[in-house]
């Protein structure tokens, strides 16, 4: 029987980032993944003969410092930018925004000259706000109240950054964090089309509508992760993030086992002592769960090990997965009317107005799939031909809302999505060779993502910073000694690797310093 210092359950980018940093500082680390693929739901797999597509998230970006620090480029990471964002409009019309500010201003001027004038200042403000979040995301949140001396240092540094923005900008940024995205859009723009497109990131991944308070936080969150308007993936698909991290991890001596059998955490007298994987019991002085808090504390650890108040807090966590993911194998390039090839390398969005998004949510909040859903479409084969046989294409679709307990059938969703997109690509249905549909309940049953939430718990202000993953446990610790969390469930959430890096820093700095 081999022993490890550290066992990590799960293999998301956060788990692998933590593994890299811990192994690099001398720990013997074992990563256990019960599914077939490294990354779990963050993977790119064959779904039809010679067609590969992302299983869960279809965009994402590792934190730039992590990429540099772990030399991920040397380990095969090749970032693919999706630097265009197109809005599909009723009547087969569209417009495309890009990272090029001047070009984008011209495009917007075609819809609304007033909006075009305001766009640069708007981007400037949301960038200030998301830069502030970025700083907050790379530190460990305080858990003490009143804040301890160290907490005050952390908070003071953050508030110094805010103050550095200038008096007016400081309060503008503070307002953004708590606003509904509908209010934000109304304050800046008049064009319903532009407002709808820009508002999408504020509801992406949540079962919430754009009229709701605090939704702007979700927008800033995605921006802070480099996954806001202009997104990224990697050559080979989103799973390539995990492949590069896994290669780096192996170079630091990390052992990774897939198909390790079902997992549980061994606890004795309130201390985690190791892990049972399938029938094998493996000892370790430190156990880290990459899984979300609800799964960790109801399935991996038996709830009786925990205090009733803690169990209640776990029960009160909000997940509410509402995203369906569809992948289509296409026998030819799908011609979307008016969309250039360059734009096809980016993201296409169906969300022609803020009210359209809200109406989709109106249905979803009652548990049903809307007849007019919000869609995001990417054609990864535009930048990476290896994902499909020559001349053929993969089309990935993100669909909201598909609330986790809805009774909708996969065929219904597939037909609905094809129907909606046929308005822009009339022969689409005839191009489809194969399709794959994931509903939230499948993410839950196959990957243990509670209620199918792809971010380890709803991304919302009420579950952020010192409240994530649970109030009082923002420093990656848990009520069980030697058991830690490192996944997207923890601050800041997402697949940038920051949760994993923060967790590793907490462990390296405080509990794992070599004696």
């Amino acid at each position: 029987m081999s022993t490890y210092n550290t066992i990590i359950l799960g293999s998301s980018p956060n788990a692998l980032t933590a593994a890299c940093y811990l192994a690099r500082s001398g720990k013997k680390v074992l990563v256990l993944e019960p599914t077939e693929h490294i990354g779990g739901a963050v993977s790119t797999n064959q779904f039809a003969e010679s067609f590969k597509a992302d299983t869960g998230l279809m965009s994402g970006r590792l934190d730039a410092e992590i990429v540099k620090d772990l030399k991920l480029t040397d380990h095969g990471l090749e970032v693919v930018e999706r630097s265009a964002l197109s809005s599909l409009l009723p009547g087969g019309k569209s417009f495309t925004l890009s990272c090029d500010l001047d070009a984008t201003e011209k495009v917007i001027a075609g819809i609304s000259p007033a909006d075009a004038k305001k766009y640069p200042a708007f981007m400037n403000l949301v960038n200030l706000a998301s830069n502030f979040l970025k700083s907050a995301y790379s530190v460990t949140p305080p858990v003490n109240h009143p804040p301890s001396k160290e907490d005050v240092e952390v908070l003071s540094e953050l508030s110094a950054q805010l103050k550095g923005y200038g008096r007016r900008e400081m309060t503008e940024v503070m307002r953004l964090l708590v606003m509904s995205v509908r209010d934000l859009m109304d304050e800046w723009f008049v064009s319903p089309e532009l407002k709808g497109l820009l508002a999408t990131a504020a509801v992406r991944g949540t079962n919430q509508g754009p009229f709701a308070g605090n939704t702007t936080y979700n927008l800033l969150h995605h921006l802070a992760q480099g996954d806001g308007f202009f997104r990224a993936t990697a050559k080979g698909g989103i799973g390539a993030l995990c492949q590069a991290l896994a290669a780096a991890a192996k170079s630091y001596g990390v052992e990774i086992r897939t198909m390790c059998g079902s997992l549980s955490i061994n606890v004795a007298d309130g201390v985690a002592t190791g892990v049972t994987a399938g029938t094998e019991s493996i000892e370790a002085s430190l156990v880290i769960s990459d899984y979300d808090a609800r799964h960790t504390f109801t399935h991996l650890v038996a709830p009786p090990e925990l205090e009733p108040e803690f169990n209640r807090a776990v029960k009160n966590l909000k997940y509410r997965g509402a995203v369906a993911r569809l992948n289509f194998a296409l026998k030819e390039f799908p011609e979307f009317a008016g969309i250039t090839d360059e734009a096809m390398k980016g993201t296409l969005v169906l969300a022609p107005s803020v009210a359209y998004l809200e109406k989709a949510y109106d249905t979803s909040k009652r548990g049903d799939v809307p007849a007019q859903p919000y869609l995001e479409v990417a054609l990864p084969t535009m930048s990476d031909a290896s994902l499909a046989p020559s001349g053929k294409h993969v089309m990935s679709v993100w669909m909201q809302y598909a609330p986790c307990h809805s009774t909708a059938k996969t065929e219904h969703l597939r037909d609905l999505v094809l129907e909606q997109l046929s308005e822009f690509c009339p022969n689409l249905k005839s191009l489809v060779e194969h399709s794959q549909v994931f509903l939230p309940n499948e993410y839950e049953s196959q990957f243990h993502l509670t209620e199918g939430n792809l971010y380890g718990a709803e991304i919302s202000l009420a579950q952020s910073f010192y409240l994530r993953p649970l109030p009082g446990f923002a420093q990656y610790r848990t009520p069980i000694a030697q058991l830690y969390l490192c996944g997207s469930a923890t601050h800041p959430g997402g697949i940038s690797g920051l949760s994993g890096r923060n967790a590793a820093r907490e462990l390296g700095a405080r509990d794992m310093l070599p004696a």
């Binding site: 109240h145 103050k163 008096r167 503070m174 708590v178 509904s180 919430q208 709701a212 605090n214 009420a462």
Partner: protein, 531 residues
């Protein structure tokens, strides 16, 4: 055309709403020569009682008192000036299945009643009440505070920031975390964590949406819920009371205290604009051309009305004008008053429990009901089945209606101030019909006993009382416009970009409701500058 009046005042208060009156009374007591100019024939603003139909006294807008600051009652000696508040003793929630939920004056009785619906909820109820009370007590000091500017480094602002931190640091960690969550959550999510009973959650969630154009499932409503828990009556938290003579009697009591302090009150005196010379307020001009000069001008009108109508934009910084323009003020609330030839008979009200008619009657059988009411209205429409908070004032104060007759007050949501195609008399009548029909489903004799019906839509509240968009709080209680952001980031301390000009209405901290706090805090700010 314009006639200059000879009199010079230390202070002119534009508007005799309850906050304007409180402000004037405090300044009068401090020895200032104060003039209140009210556009209507009577003072009170949204806090008035009027005989719209002969013999019946209607609560035209506000109807209950809870958040009125105890300091205001004491310092202005409002009881001596005639204020008498009678606590409301019960809440009755008729349900659609013939059942009901009631909240009784007697704590044990309430527990039993909740237990009838859910044993678990009865257990949770006490703890919930304790927790909300603790949070409310912790936050209370902030209400009476002139908000600090977190971007400022003046010693005063730094000191106030430290006081704010002190208030938060006084809380236990668990309470601070709970407060952080409540402030950022939806009322529905918060209540779901505590209770399982549909009816209990339905009635409780309404505190989160009063005056607010959001549904109970929208984050942000958690704060509004807490806002309505901060009130107290004689030390009892979350208690609501009815003023003998209606809320208008409160305004009269404050006016009496103000007059006693030497304040002059002129009604029928709509202000057309604030006179400004070299960036300084010098007085006001009435719509009839009369001019009054003063060293200080205070506006009780809402921020939009004050800065977009009474002052020319050229006198204001661009940023400030854009802040006021973006201030959210779309309103979903209406007020209906009924003159009745008898009492409504609720089918679900148990025999022998008719005393429940003396309390609040809430048509809010579930969160889903209220959320649907919101969804119906949020794109520029109105609820097909509105939420209502009803009261029969004549049962508490027989003087409100002729003998044997009654008045019924209904606070109703949602009907959009931005109604598709705009409001008109026909649409008013239509919505009033919906309100009556909805209530009659629970009390079928309603139409038989109905003598007169009267509705104040957001359109009417704007035309009659001067509330922009009819907003009951002079602007949404959304997080982005609270505390040091209300109504504008650098101008939350009752001062304005115009020298000698101040604000004292509900567009300022701590916002709407009958609190007297904006009026009092503004007086403190003015006296800081001009002792």
């Amino acid at each position: 055309m314009s006639k200059s009046t000879n009199n010079h005042y230390d202070v002119i208060v534009i508007g005799g709403g309850h906050n304007g009156l409180v402000n004037a009374a405090y300044l009068g007591k401090a020895g200032k020569k104060v003039l209140v100019l009210e556009q209507r024939h009577t003072v009170g603003g949204a806090t008035i009682t009027e005989e719209v139909y002969p013999g019946f006294k209607f609560l035209i807008a506000s109807y209950l008192i809870s958040l009125l600051r105890p300091d205001v009652i004491q310092e202005l000696e409002l009881v001596r000036h005639g204020l008498e508040i009678m606590p409301l003793e019960s809440t009755f929630v008729p349900l659609t299945n013939g059942n009901y939920l009631a909240d009784w004056p007697d704590h044990e009785a309430t527990r039993h009643e909740i237990e009838r619906h859910s044993k678990r909820d009865a257990e949770a109820y006490d703890e919930y009440a304790r927790v909300m009370r603790r949070l409310a007590i912790a936050l209370r000091p902030l209400l009476d505070m002139i908000p600090p500017d977190p971007t400022s480094v003046t010693p005063k602002d730094l000191e106030t920031m430290a006081r704010v931190r002190g208030v938060l640091n006084n809380m236990t960690r668990d309470d601070f975390h709970l407060l952080s969550r409540l402030m950022t959550m939806s009322a529905a999510d918060f209540l779901d964590e505590w209770f399982e009973g549909t009816a209990l959650k339905g009635t409780k969630c309404t505190s989160g949406i009063i005056g607010t154009f959001m549904g109970p499932r929208s984050p942000g409503t958690g704060y509004v819920l807490l806002h309505h828990y901060i009130g107290e009556l004689d030390g009892t938290f979350r208690a609501w009371g009815f003023a003998r003579g209606g809320t208008g009697a409160l305004s009269q009591a404050i006016a009496s205290a103000a007059r006693e302090a030497g304040v002059e009150i002129k009604t029928n005196s709509p202000v057309a604009h604030v006179n400004i010379k070299n960036g300084e307020a010098t007085g006001v001009t009435l719509e009839n051309g009369d001019e009054y000069s003063a060293s200080i001008v205070v506006s009780n009108a809402d921020a939009k009305r004050t800065f977009l109508k009474l002052i020319e934009p050229k006198h204001l910084p661009d940023d400030f004008v854009s802040d006021i323009n973006r201030f959210r003020i779309a309103s979903p609330a209406c007020k209906v008053n009924l003159a009745l030839d008898g009492l409504p008979e609720f089918t679900s009200m148990p025999k022998g429990k008719e005393a429940l008619l003396r309390g609040s009657i809430e048509i809010a059988p579930s969160i889903d009901y209220v959320e649907q009411a919101y969804d119906d209205a949020k794109y520029g429409g109105w609820s097909r089945k509105p939420f209502m908070d009803a009261l029969i004032p004549s049962l508490l104060d027989p003087g409100m209606a002729p003998p044997g007759k009654h008045v019924m007050s209904l606070f109703v949501q949602y009907a959009s101030s931005d109604l598709d195609g705009g409001w008109n008399e026909e649409k008013k009548a239509q919505f009033l019909g919906i309100v009556i029909d909805t209530l009659a489903e629970h009390a079928p004799n309603l139409k038989k006993i109905l003598i007169h019906k009267h509705i104040m839509t957001p359109w009417d509240l704007e035309r009659m009382i001067g509330l922009t968009s009819g907003h009951i709080f002079h602007g949404e209680l959304a997080l982005q416009q609270l505390f040091f952001l209300r109504p504008s980031p650098q101008w939350s301390n009752y001062r304005t970009p115009i020298k000698n000009m101040y604000m004292c209405g509900s567009s300022t901290h701590p916002g709407g409701c009958i609190t007297g706090a904006p009026g009092r805090n503004a007086a403190l700010a003015i006296l800081e500058d001009r002792p």
